[in-house]
Subunit: 330 residues, 2 copies
Amino acid sequence: MATPDPARTWAGRAVLVTGGAGFLGSNVARGLADAGADVVAVDSFLAEGGANRCNLDGSAVRLVEADIGDRDRMMPLLADRSVVFNLAGRTGHLDSMSDPLGDLAANAGSQLAFLEACRSANPALRVVFTSTRQIYGRPQTLPVDETHPIEPPDINAIHKLAAEHYHVLYHRVHGLKSVVLRLTNCFGPRMRVKDARQTFVGIWVRKALEGGTVEVWGGEQRRDLLFTTDLVAALLTAADCDAAMGRIFNLGGNGAVTLADLAEALVKTAGRGRIERRAFPAERKTIDIGDFVLDDMAFRSTTGWAPQIGLDDALAETIAYYRERLPRYL
Amino acid sequence: MATPDPARTWAGRAVLVTGGAGFLGSNVARGLADAGADVVAVDSFLAEGGANRCNLDGSAVRLVEADIGDRDRMMPLLADRSVVFNLAGRTGHLDSMSDPLGDLAANAGSQLAFLEACRSANPALRVVFTSTRQIYGRPQTLPVDETHPIEPPDINAIHKLAAEHYHVLYHRVHGLKSVVLRLTNCFGPRMRVKDARQTFVGIWVRKALEGGTVEVWGGEQRRDLLFTTDLVAALLTAADCDAAMGRIFNLGGNGAVTLADLAEALVKTAGRGRIERRAFPAERKTIDIGDFVLDDMAFRSTTGWAPQIGLDDALAETIAYYRERLPRYL
C-alpha cells in the first residue's frame, strides 16, 4: 500500500485543526490547505505553549482564537466539518508537575468539553487525536508496542492518557469516528525553538544556528524521531482509514538514533554550534525515561503508512527553515 | 500471616477518612474509631452521592463538611494526621456519562488538589486510595489480575484511573506513601439503598425488605462481592504494609456468585420480596461488562489479608442493619 496523494483525497473537504497555530497543528493545517481542503485552525495561544502566528503565514488556513473547551465557540465551528485533527494541548512535562491543575484543565477538561461539543454538533465527525509515547513511562522492553504496561511518569502523561480514553469511549458509546495516535518525539519546521518546553530538538536547533552550545543531557539514550512531513502524511491517512477507528496506535519515526549522534548530525548540518555532554541533574532524574523506541507496526499494517524522509534530509529542511526565520521564533 | 488486631495497631493514631459519611468511608471511620484511633471524617455530601449523616451515628468520629479539593480547608486538617483513607468520589457510572465534566471535577480535579494539599501539609502521610475494578472494562480473561488490559467503559472509570495514577506518581516523585486498591462490588451496612446509584445490592435490599420486586438484570453474570467488615480489615492492613506502598492491587471478595443466586439468598435472608429476571435494556448494554471476578492474590500475598465472612453471614448482618433503619436511608 502507498500513502494516497492528499490532493486527490482532501480537495474541498471541510476540516478543523485544534492547536492549529502550534507546531504539529500548523503543519497539519498547512498540509491540508495545500491539498485543497477548507481548513479552520483553532488555537487558544496558551502562555508558554507552542502557538506562533507566523506558523500559518502565507497559508489559506482560517485561524480562530479560542479554547477548544469553550462549547459556545466550538458548536458553530464544528457543524459543517467532516474531520477534526485534534492536536491542542499543553506539552510541558515539568510544567505539569509544577501546575498540575492547569494541566488538568487544558489536557483533560478542555478535551472532554470539546468531545461533548463534537457529539452534540456533529456526531458523524471523524476525530484524529494525538497522544504521546510518554504515557508508557520508562520502557520495560524495547521496542515499545501498544501492549506495553502504562506508567505515566508525570501529570501531563496522566491527562493525555485520560484524553485517549475519552476519544475511544466517545467512539464506542457515542459513535464518533475517533482514532488515537501515540507520537514519538517529533521535529521539523514550526516547532518551538526558544526553549526545551516542547522538544529538546527545538532548543538544539536554536543553539546551533546561534553558534552556541548544544547541551546533550546523557547522550547514549536512543530515540526514534518523526519528521513533520511524515507525521502529516500519517495523520491524513489515519483520518480516512475505517479499520483504524476506535483504536489506539503508536506512531514512531524512521529508525532510532542516539542523542549524541543526533546532536552531531544537527551541528554538522547547521555548520555552526558546539556540543557539550552533561550528566542529568537530580531533579530531572525522577521523570527521565532512558532509551525509547516505539513499535508502530500495527499502524503501518493497518493504514499502509510508512515514513519517507531520512534523518539527514529532515535535518536539512529543518535547519533551512529556521536559518531564514529564527528571530520570529525567539 | 493473620490480619493484626486493629485495637493494637490503631489506638491513639490520628487519621483522616475522605468520603467519611459515605458507604465505605463511614465503615472505615467507625472501624478506626472503635479501635481507638483519633478519626476525622471529611465529606462534601454530594447531591446523589452516598453520604448519609446517620452513617456516623453514635460513633466518636469527628465529621467535617468540606470538599477534599478545597485546599484551604484541607491543609489544617492534614497537618497532624499520619494516615489518610481516601474514599471520596462520585460512583455513578450512568451519571458520569450524562455529566462528564461534573465527574471530572469530583473524581480527578478534587483528588489532584487533595494530593497537592497532602504533599504540602504533610509529605510523610500514608494514603490508601480506593479505585474500582470498573477500569478493566469487559474482562478478556477471568479472573482479572492487575496485568489485564485496561479499557474504561465509562467516564467515571477514566477518572478513577487518572486518580490512581496521581497516587502512584505522588509516591514516586513526591514521596507520599500511597497504595491503590481496585475494589470489586462492595456491600454491607451503610450502603445507599434508595436506588442503584452506588450498588445494585443496595436497591435489592430495599426492595426485599419492602416486600417488593428485586429486579435481576441478566442473572447469570458472576460477581465477587466484598463485605464491609472484610473491606475495612483490608484497608487498615494496607495502610501499615510498607511493601504495598506505591503499588496498585486488586481487592476481591470471598468467592464468586451469580446474580440470580445472590438475589435468591438475599430474599431468603430477608424473608420478604420476590425476584423478577429481566433482559438488559438497549441503553445499558453499551456499558455493561458481563461476568467479573477479580484475582487479588497479589494483595493477599503482600499483606496477609484474606476475607473472613461468608456470604450468608454477610447478608444476615446487612439485612439486620436495614431492617431496623430502612426509613433513614430512603
